[in-house]
Every structure is written in C-alpha cells, then in structure tokens.
C-alpha cells in the first residue's frame, strides 16, 4: 500500500511539475509550426507571471488578474513582432534581449511595488486559483489520487493540448500558420500576408504561454519571486522544438522533462549531489534533441533517396515503352 501511495504521489507531482512546461511548450508549438522559434518564451512567462499577481491584487478579482496577465504577454509579443517586422530587428536577437530585460525588469517592478527585490509575498495581496476535486473521479482509488485535486491551471493545460491541436489543424488560421511556416512565398502568391499570420500566431503563443507563467505565481504559489520561471520557458521551447511543433508531441515531451524534474525532486533527499540532478534534465534535453534531429535528417535523406529511385525506375520503364 505504501508503495502505491508513493507512486501515486509521484505521478501527481509529475503532472503538477509539468503544468507550466506544457503551457509554454504548446504555445511554442504554434510558432514552431509557423517556422519561428519562440525564443522569447521566458520573457512572456515572466511578464504574465508578475502582471497576473499585480493586477489580481489591484482588482481583487482573480479572473481579471489572469486576463491582464495574458494581455501583458500579448502586448509583449506584439512589441516583438513590431520590432521584427516593422523595425526589422533580427527576431531572435530581440527575443534574447527581451528575456534579459524582463528578467531584470520584473525585479525592478517588484522593487518599486514592495521595496524589496525578491518577492511580492506578504506585500502584494494577490489572488490565486485553487485546487479542484473532481466529483466521482476523486473517489476512485489511485486514479482519484493522481488526477483529482490538481490546480485549475493544470486542467486548463490538459484542455489546451486539444485547443492547440484544434487551432493548428482545424481552423483556417492554423492552416495558414502551417503554410507560412513552410513556404511564405506560396502563401503570399495567393494573397496571404505572412507577417500578419506570424503576428496573429504570436498572439496565441503569448496568450497560451502566459498561463504557464501565471500558474507559477497564481496557482502553485500565490506570489511572485525573482526568476520565478527558472528557465522553464526554454525547456518548453525545447519540448516544442523536439516535437517539431506537434501539439501532442510537445505535451509528451513536456511530461518527459517534467518527469526528469520530478525524479530530481524525489531523489534529492537521498543524493548528496543535488546539483548533478539539476543538470540532468538539461542533459536529457540535449541528447533527445540530437537524437531526434539525427533521426529526422536520416528520414529526410531516405525519403529523398526513395523518391529518386522511384522516379528513376519510372523513367527507365517509360524509355523502354518508347
């Protein structure tokens, strides 16, 4: 029995730990489909995470807070698009400097609001979403312990997998995002403006990614601390990149990285070298990324070879006919 409790607890915490990564990975999957790396993932999460805290405290309404958090991340994304598409700054360069700016900028704002630089806890009366017990399911043994009692954000994250899949594969915008990602010239030749599509895509990227930031400051805990995201943005980006922008793949990859974190957390008490464990998830990401890249490169090569062979055969047959 004890073992089972242990395992269910582990899976429960795996889902909990993966939640923010799932959000930002799904967001990044959209931009990945549009052919752009969401390098500003970290900045989006940080912005939303702090803005959600501040605005929920201001309005004393958690939903209004979340909406404002989302809005601020979307504004950031729009600024990024303006800088890249209108001012012609290299998009990745701008993204990287935004990450740095927001890492400092959020601390700056926290300081202005509280007088300390580390956290909003105790000073800003922010609100948060609570945990939810799902009727019926919560009464099922094991399954209830794993799937019930999570934060509302976590359930939204699971629903988001479907939402993003639907957006990408069942809407007109999704089709256009995928088209622009692979051949912007083709889209342009039939009157679709790729820059407009990218900008729209980034609005969704920011809106969905922002929830990951807000889960950290309004779900998992109810205050903001400096560097609250602790590079989860990049991990989400990596998840989406490894999954090649497929929503379900991104979700699975997020769980894999969440698992790495969960194992790390669970082993920490038993292993002295906790830093080694902290390094492990990153090592895992690099190895997985390399393996997937090698596999894809090989796949592409095999596909080309097969196609060429087929064509060569067809042409010899034709010549024989002639």
């Amino acid at each position: 029995m004890d073992m089972i409790t242990y395992i269910t607890n582990f899976i429960y915490s795996l889902i909990r730990i993966s939640t923010p990564i799932i959000f930002i990975a799904l967001g990044s999957a959209i931009s990945q489909q549009g052919g752009i790396l969401n390098m500003a993932a970290e900045a989006m999460m940080l912005t939303a995470s702090l803005a959600g805290v501040m605005f929920s405290a201001m309005f004393q309404n958690v939903w209004l807070g979340i909406l404002c958090g989302m809005g601020s991340a979307v504004l950031l994304a729009l600024f990024l698009c303006f800088a890249s598409f209108v001012m012609k700054v290299d998009m990745y360069l701008m993204s990287i400097s935004l990450n740095m700016a927001l890492l400092g900028g959020t601390v700056f704002v926290v300081y202005l609001a509280t007088g300390t630089k580390n956290t909003t806890a105790g000073v800003v009366q922010s609100l948060s979403l609570g945990n939810i017990n799902i009727p019926i399911i919560q009464d099922i043994p094991i399954i209830g312990a794993i799937f019930s009692g999570h934060n509302l954000f976590t359930y939204i994250a699971l629903a988001m997998v479907f939402v993003v899949w639907f957006l990408l594969f069942r809407t007109k915008l999704g089709l256009r995002i995928r088209a622009c990602g692979q051949n912007p010239a083709a889209a342009e030749s039939i009157g679709i403006n790729p820059r407009k599509i990218y900008t729209l895509a980034f609005v969704f990227v920011a809106a969905i990614g922002s929830l990951g930031g807000m889960y950290l400051s309004m779900g998992y805990q109810n205050f903001f601390v400096r560097n609250i995201t602790a590079n989860r943005g990049f991990i989400g980006l990596a998840a989406a990149t490894i999954a090649n922008g497929m929503p379900i793949g991104s979700f699975v990859m997020s769980l894999v990285f969440g698992l790495a974190y969960a194992i790390t957390n669970y082993l920490k008490p038993y292993i002295v070298d906790s830093y080694f464990l902290s390094a492990l998830p990153f090592l895992l990401i690099i190895i997985l990324y390399f393996i997937m890249s090698a596999y894809r490169a090989g796949e592409e090569g095999r596909r080309l070879k097969a196609a060429k062979k087929k064509l060569a055969e067809a042409s010899t047959v034709r010549q024989q006919e002639v």
Binding site: Q182, G191, L311
Partner: protein, 516 residues
C-alpha cells in the same frame, strides 16, 4: 469568332534604371484559345506577365477583361478578375496535402473553422471535373513534378479563373509528363478556357497553340495563326543578330586537349534527364561557344564541370585528371576558372570589400601568404593591379562590392578569375545585363587569353552576337545533347543557328564531325 477574354493593349514598361522591358505590346486571348508567347530570355515575356498578374505596374497601356477596362493591383486582384498563373517554380507547401494547398486562402468552413472533409470533397470534385488525376490526401512533398503542376493548375481553376498563364510549364517536365499536360490543356481548351503559353520550344507551340506572339527586346516582332506559320518563320522572328560586333582576332591555333567530356549524363532530383550522353572536348588556344535556348542543360553542364553539382555518370578530364569526386578547390587547382551566370549568388559577397572578393580564390596561394598570415602588402598590390588592369571604377580596394554597378561587379569577378593562371576558363553568360563597354572588354579578354596565353575557353551564352563573334568553334546544345557543330562560325547565318537551337533542324554525327 470566339469571345475575347483578355486583351492587353499598347503595354509599355520602363524600369527605374531606364531599361525598356516592354514597348507597345498588344496581346489578346479568346475563349478556348491557347496563345503562345514566345521569345528569348530577356525578351520581355516575364515582365509582360508580371504586369498582367499584378506584380508590376506599367507606364502606358490598357488591360481589358471581357471587353471591360480593368486595373490590376496585385496577384489577389488578378485572381479575382479571373486571371491565374502557373508559376515555373511551384508555389506550394510541401508538408500540406493537395487539398490543403489547393484550398489555402479560400478555405471552406463556417467562420474561422476549416472544414477538412469539405476541402477534400471540393478538391476531388474539381480534379474530376478538369480530369486531373490527383489524390487530395497526398502530401505535396511525395508528388512528382508533373503532379505538382496539376496542383498548381487546380489551384487556379478552383478559384474560377478564365485565363491561365503558363510560365514555361514544360521546362521542368519529362517528355511523358509533357504529353500528359498537353492532353489536359487541350481538355481545358474544350471547356472554354483561354491560356497564355510561354515557351521557346517550337514543336510544342506548333502542336498545342492556336496563335502566337513573338517578343524581341520588348517589342512584338511577329504574331499570327499557327496554321499559317512554319517553324522556320517562327525561328526567324525569335532569333536575330542586330549589329555586327567586330572583334579582331587572329585565327585560332588549337593545340592539345584541355578538357575532355565523355558520355556525361545528369538526372536531376525529380528524375528529369537534363544532360544525355554528352561528349566533346576543348583545346588550348580556342574559344568554344555553346549556343542554345536557356534551360537545355547549359547551367547544369557548367556546374558539373566546376564541381558545384554532381554528375550521374560519365567522364570529365581536365588537364589529364579525372574530376569525379574531387572538391571544388581541387578542381580549381587543376587549372579551372569559372565565371558563373548568377553573379550575385555565386560570384561575390556583397558586403565584403573588393579586395576580399578578389582574394577569395587566392587565400591558399603561397604568393599571398607570409607564414600563417596573409601577405597584405602583396595582396593589396595585386588588387590594385587588378583594379587598374580591368578598369574597375571604384574608390579603392577597400570599397564594399555592393556599392559598385553591375558592370564593375562583373569586372571584379573577371579580374579574379582571369588572373589566377588557369588554362581553362568557363564563362557562363559573362556579359548578361551589363553595359556595352564592359561586355566588349570581357569578350576581347576572352579572345586575348586564348591567343596570347594558350588558354581554352568554354563560352556559354544565349546572346547570339556574342557567341558567334567570339567563338572559334560553335556547338549548339538542345535537350542536353549537342545538336550541331560549326567550325566556320562567321559563315553561320542567324536563321540557320536559330533553327538548330529550336530543334527545327538536327545535324547527324557525321555532319558534326570531330567534337574534341
């Protein structure tokens, strides 16, 4: 008389740099008519079609659709008004399905939703209607070139266009696919579509088209019903030799063979046989010209010789060494210099200085090295000499190449390639799009190097003036083969040359004689 679908009248287009691309061009297409638009590269066909499809604006002229005058602002506008274009480079998204590609931009479905089933249904129905054999669920990347072209056709047809522009549609197709395409086009013709068929392949035009308009230097040089024309007449309208360039040259004294090509074959990634059993040779001290309509394998030939492209089979022996499997640097070291036809893509690095651009092939040359470093003094001297000798108009060796005019950029390339001491120079379209003075200089240099330094030159050019004036021996290339050889180049008439280039006439191997 069938109803007139489209009429372009008195179109004149002058580019900002003063180049007149079209002058008073008139063209009309009727219902159920395939109208051939012919002319050599640079004759103004592409510009005319860009104007029609809304990519460019013209200074003078009117466009009528169904008898009404219209203004076409952009491609979307053109499609709305019933004009569709099948681009030579397909505008398709490789990882999307046929249905998704066809429906992109006009997706079926309520509101923002994309109804995939309906898209497939609509695509299938349209494909059946136009008898295009396509699987709506197949991914574009898995299709053959012929099928991709069908998708391109369907994309236009499903948008309800009545006039189709086909930009050299057969250039990328295998003969089998070409036959299939023609059957489809004839079918569309029956259904009342009007088509503009851009091509410079005479037999295709003779087989498929009803009327034809020929452009040369932006002007209409001939038009009429195909039935009333014969290939020789068409060829004469297309090909001309305006002024007689006069280059004084001593008679060539060909010596030993420098480049020997034997049974060269190249099949591209899409299975098209671009170069077929090509064999010829070039000797020291002669300029061998290759004339031919572009797209008959000349580009691939020059890229294979220089190592940028890998051959399918065959031998290339440069100065006694087989080049197969050699790196570009090694082939260059065998004594090759290369003027590429795409100046901006291969010839230069725009943001770097003239010095760097000239130095690019001399970086490992001991003359310009001092230990591990560049011998800057020597290099600067060399570059200054180049600037002086080749009359490059610039402020000095440190000026970035992007500030130079086209002619001076070409001089930079020529200076680099001609000074490297190679005994074989391959010059692909060396004077295209540059001023008369520079063009003349380059032609004279080609002749001078063969006479004085015993260099062998392969000159590939679609400029007949150039190729007949400069060459000591002239080959005609058509469909990846040599179709004619002339030893007495000056005696060849333009009409005759045109007939060989366009496939009206062929020489037998006996008539051609020894190609080496």
């Amino acid at each position: 008389m069938a109803k007139e679908l489209l009429r372009m009248e008195g179109i004149t287009k002058v580019y900002p740099n003063g180049f007149m691309a079209n002058k008073d061009v008139t063209l009309s297409v009727s219902e159920g008519e395939i109208h051939a638009l012919m002319g050599e590269n640079g004759a103004g066909k592409t510009t005319l079609m860009k104007i029609l499809f809304g990519h460019e604006a013209c200074q003078e002229g009117k466009i009528y659709i169904n008898g009404e005058e219209v203004k076409i602002e952009n491609p979307l506008d053109a499609i709305d008004k019933g004009i569709g274009m099948v681009h030579q480079h397909f505008m398709q998204v490789p990882n999307l399905s046929v249905a998704e590609n066809v429906m992109l931009g006009i997706e079926p479905g309520k509101g923002q939703l994309f109804d995939k089933k309906k898209a497939i249904e609509l695509t299938r129905a349209a494909a059946e209607k136009y008898q295009l054999d396509l699987d709506p669920n197949a991914l574009i990347r898995d299709l053959s070139v012929g099928s991709k072209q069908k998708v391109e056709l369907l994309k236009s047809l499903i948008r309800g266009v009545k006039v189709l522009i086909l930009d050299e549609p057969t250039a990328v197709l295998t003969p089998q696919e070409t036959r299939e395409l023609f059957a489809q086009l004839k079918n569309l013709k029956k259904q009342g579509y009007g088509m503009i068929f851009i091509s410079h392949k005479l037999e295709e035009v003779m087989e498929l088209c009803d009327r034809c308009t020929v452009l040369r230097h932006g002007r209409v040089t001939g038009h009429g019903n195909i039935q009333e024309l014969n290939p020789a007449m068409l060829s004469r309208m297309m090909v001309e030799r305006e002024v007689n360039l006069e280059i004084d040259k001593a008679p060539a004294v060909p010596k030993e063979t420098i480049l020997h090509i034997e049974k060269l074959n190249y099949v591209n990634d899409f299975g098209k046989h671009i170069i077929q059993d090509l064999s010829f040779g070039i000797r020291a001290g002669e300029v061998v010209g290759i004339a031919g309509v572009e797209g008959n394998g000349q580009t691939e030939l020059s890229e294979i010789i220089t190592g940028l492209l890998h051959r399918t089979s065959g031998e290339i022996i440069l100065n006694g060494t087989e080049t197969s499997g050699k790196k570009i640097k090694e082939i260059r070291n065998l004594g090759l210099a290369h003027i590429s036809e795409d100046r901006m893509k291969y010839g230069i690095a725009q943001n770097l200085s003239i010095r760097d651009n000239i130095a690019s092939i001399y970086l490992e040359n001991p003359k310009f090295k001092k230990g591990p470093f560049l011998n800057v003094k020597e290099l600067n001297e060399f570059v200054d000499n180049c600037i002086e000798e080749f009359e490059i108009a610039c402020t000095g060796g440190t000026e970035a190449v992007r500030f130079l005019s086209g002619g001076n950029i070409q001089k930079v390339i020529v200076a680099r390639e001609f000074s490297c001491g190679a005994n074989f120079i391959i010059a692909n379209q060396p004077t295209r799009g540059i001023d008369v003075g520079t063009a003349d200089l380059i032609r004279r240099l080609l002749v001078k190097y063969t006479r004085e330094k015993g260099v062998g030159v392969l000159l590939i050019s679609s400029d007949l003036n150039e190729v007949t004036e400069v060459s000591d021996r002239l080959l005609v290339m058509r469909e990846g083969r040599i179709s004619a050889q002339f030893h007495d180049v000056k005696a060849v008439s333009t009409d005759e040359l045109g007939e060989y280039m366009l496939g009206v006439k062929h020489m037998t191997p006996e008539e051609m004689g020894d190609l080496s």
